[in-house]
Symmetry: C2
Subunit: 420 residues, 2 copies
């Protein structure tokens, strides 16, 4: 069995082949050595690539400020143990180099982290910093990028009321029935009700955890997590065996917001963590949707404050139909195979039509370029592209987006991130 450092050297010698096993092992090491949400470390890895970044962090060649973030963990190596432990519980490590990586969803974080200051003192607090994950531990039978494509977060208080649990379960069930993945945090209360509602509709659901996927928290949800993994996914940035530390819940929330097209807050007390998730969703240009409740209920105070905050632009929703109206837009109409491409195009929103018109026919271009040509926000482009792709109107070339060739030729179209 090779050591980590040997594998890294091999990978470095292979000249940046993203599929080399050393890359994967470097990501596994990072997921234990680095607390997620650290702007400077993410930038270091993004800049050098995972192999060189890990080599320098371990050898002491990395800047002191970064090495201090890793600390004593620099010399340790639990990668083999972590990967084996994952395998034993049916989990896998999904990295940005893999086909399954939810590239489109997480691109909103990539864009947002670019806006963070270079000065560490001016960067967002780590619980709020929009840093993409370095790797994801995934347990379950679903494919992450596909399940995340049409997904909605349903979040809320742990100390929920019967009313809130009823509404969350109804939403989870109806969203599941209509082909949407319900994403939540696996916690007691609203989260669990939303997951259970989706499971009752025999629909996949994703629990984004702040602990290891082999060590679900809360422990009482062992059976629930087992059921989720059967058709959906358990997801974590932390390696197997990790404990659900308090601050990790807040760091985790940005992933729930980023992976989904919108976040529905069902019940939230005045200082609920669900409000933080809603704010992260807004930061990333996602829809913030809020279920109202009795004004006499402390568990709806946070929801009502979200709806009263005009800067937030939260939308009141009372049913899955309202939610889909907000996050589905053209995507929902395109769920049915469209018989005539012309009619699909006719059904596009103004901005979607402009983005499609901005796509070149031959060479693929970046979302940023599309935004500039279409005259809209990059986040808007990232929101619309998956639906255009689903409708076979645009295509990812491996380096950029272009207009898709006639339908027959696109059935085996490349996924974002896949070698082209």
């Amino acid at each position: 069995m090779t050591t980590l450092d040997e594998d890294l050297e091999d990978a470095a010698a292979a000249g940046g082949d993203p599929l080399h096993p050393g890359v994967r092992r470097a990501r596994a090491w990072l997921s234990r050595a680095v607390e997620p949400g650290t702007v400077d470390l993410w930038r270091y890895v993004d800049h050098l690539g995972p192999v060189a970044a890990v080599q320098r962090l371990r050898s002491g060649a990395a800047p002191d400020t970064l090495r201090s973030l890793v600390g004593a963990r620099a010399g340790q190596d639990a990668t083999q143990a972590d990967l084996q432990r994952a395998e034993r519980c049916g989990a896998r490590l999904v990295t940005p180099e893999a086909d399954e990586w939810p590239f489109l969803q997480l691109h909103a974080l990539t864009l947002a982290v670019a806006a963070e200051s270079a000065d560490r003192r001016r960067q967002s607090d780590r619980t709020k910093a929009p840093v993409p994950p370095l790797a994801l531990w995934v347990r379950g039978s679903g494919r992450l990028d596909e399940l995340a494509d049409r997904s909605v977060a349903v979040v809320g208080s742990r100390a929920s009321t019967a009313y809130g649990e009823h509404v969350a379960a109804e939403l989870g069930h109806q969203l599941g029935e209509r082909g949407w993945t319900v994403v939540s945090g696996g916690a007691f209360g609203i989260d669990a009700a939303a997951h259970r509602g989706a499971l009752a509709a025999v629909a996949p659901t994703i629990a984004v955890l702040s602990c290891g996927v082999d060590r679900p928290y809360p422990a009482a949800h062992g059976a629930l997590f087992h059921r989720i993994a059967e058709t959906g996914l358990l997801l974590s940035e932390w390696p197997p065996g990790s404990a659900p530390l308090r601050h990790r819940f807040l760091v985790r929330n940005r992933l729930i917001a980023a992976l989904t097209r919108g976040t529905v807050v069902v019940e939230a007390a005045a200082r609920s963590g669900a409000l933080a998730t809603a704010r992260r969703a807004q930061d990333l240009g996602r829809s913030v949707l809020v279920v109202p409740g009795p004004v006499t209920s402390a568990m709806s105070v946070g929801c009502h404050e979200l709806l009263r905050d005009e800067r937030l632009g939260a939308r009141l929703v009372t049913s899955a139909a309202h939610v889909i109206e907000e996050v589905g837009s053209i995507g929902s109409d395109l769920a049915d195979p469209a018989p005539r491409p012309e009619s699909v195009r006719d059904g596009l929103s103004d901005v979607a039509a402009r983005i499609l018109d901005a796509c070149p026919v031959r060479v693929g271009v970046s979302p940023e370029r599309l935004a500039a040509v279409a005259g809209c926000d990059v986040l808007e482009v990232l929101r619309v592209l998956p639906a255009l792709e689903l409708a076979d109107l645009v295509q990812w070339t491996g380096t950029g987006w272009r207009v898709a060739p006639p339908v027959e030729a696109t059935r085996a179209r490349a996924r974002p991130g896949a070698a082209s």
Copy 2:
């Protein structure tokens, strides 16, 4: 005892003295002969004055289209009987010529009716037309213009839930405690709960009825109406003895909207009349405030639809403090006597400061003129002026608004509509 026609002739000979008893009798006649909310008849009275208008409607000199609206009632005269009947139940007729007329509040209707088409087929439906009342029958000890000055409508379904009644009563009580007049329709359910909440705070409240003030409807509210009249007011456009016809409820709603600074909808089913009141409030530039409820309650469906309608701009409120924040603005701060005029001015909103700056020092000018100079909407001016007047910053001269002289000189300031 003189006949109506003799009184009218006398008044006509008196050359337009607004205090002549014939004017009052003409208004009493109009209140029985003309169904409120009729654009063309209101314009006719506004153009000719009540005395000449009534003379022509009775003599047949008025255009056929208008005479057909009055029909057989043209030849009848119940004015003496109506006035006596009002007196017997402690009511009075308040006309636009009286000091007590809520001139400022109703000016929003005057402005809105001017925007109605001259072509009757293109005018708003009578249940929606923003027509000022021709006269008001008022029963109770309060003074209408003063009670309406700081008032909020609290409306909702008759078939309310315990939740809605609780919230309406709380709102009524807290608004009353803070010096606000609660205006509602005197109906079962939310209306009654709001009135009762205000009464429990020993605060005046106004019930705007769609039947005679001597014949309260519903009959089971006899005791409630009696208590309202003790400190507040019962108000109606229809003369004593009038029945609460179905369409009159909708015509009445524009008055509830116009008299108040904002309308709070507490509970409303999908097609509730309370929604109509909210829409009238928006038409008149008043705040539309909505209390959410459980999404599982049919009685909150209308409320949630109001909040989801982005064109309406309704604001979610959960407490009296939220309501006052919305309708009070500078008015609420000015409720306490301000020790230094400078600080009052400093506390003004941007638009209020511009309106104050637009007021001339000597000659009074119209709200329209103020709006033009201040560069804002006339409705905004009408919203801000009462607060500026309360703060002794502006003064009504009898013909227009001007900057108020130093505080000592303004204690006996004229009311709008009073002889100057």
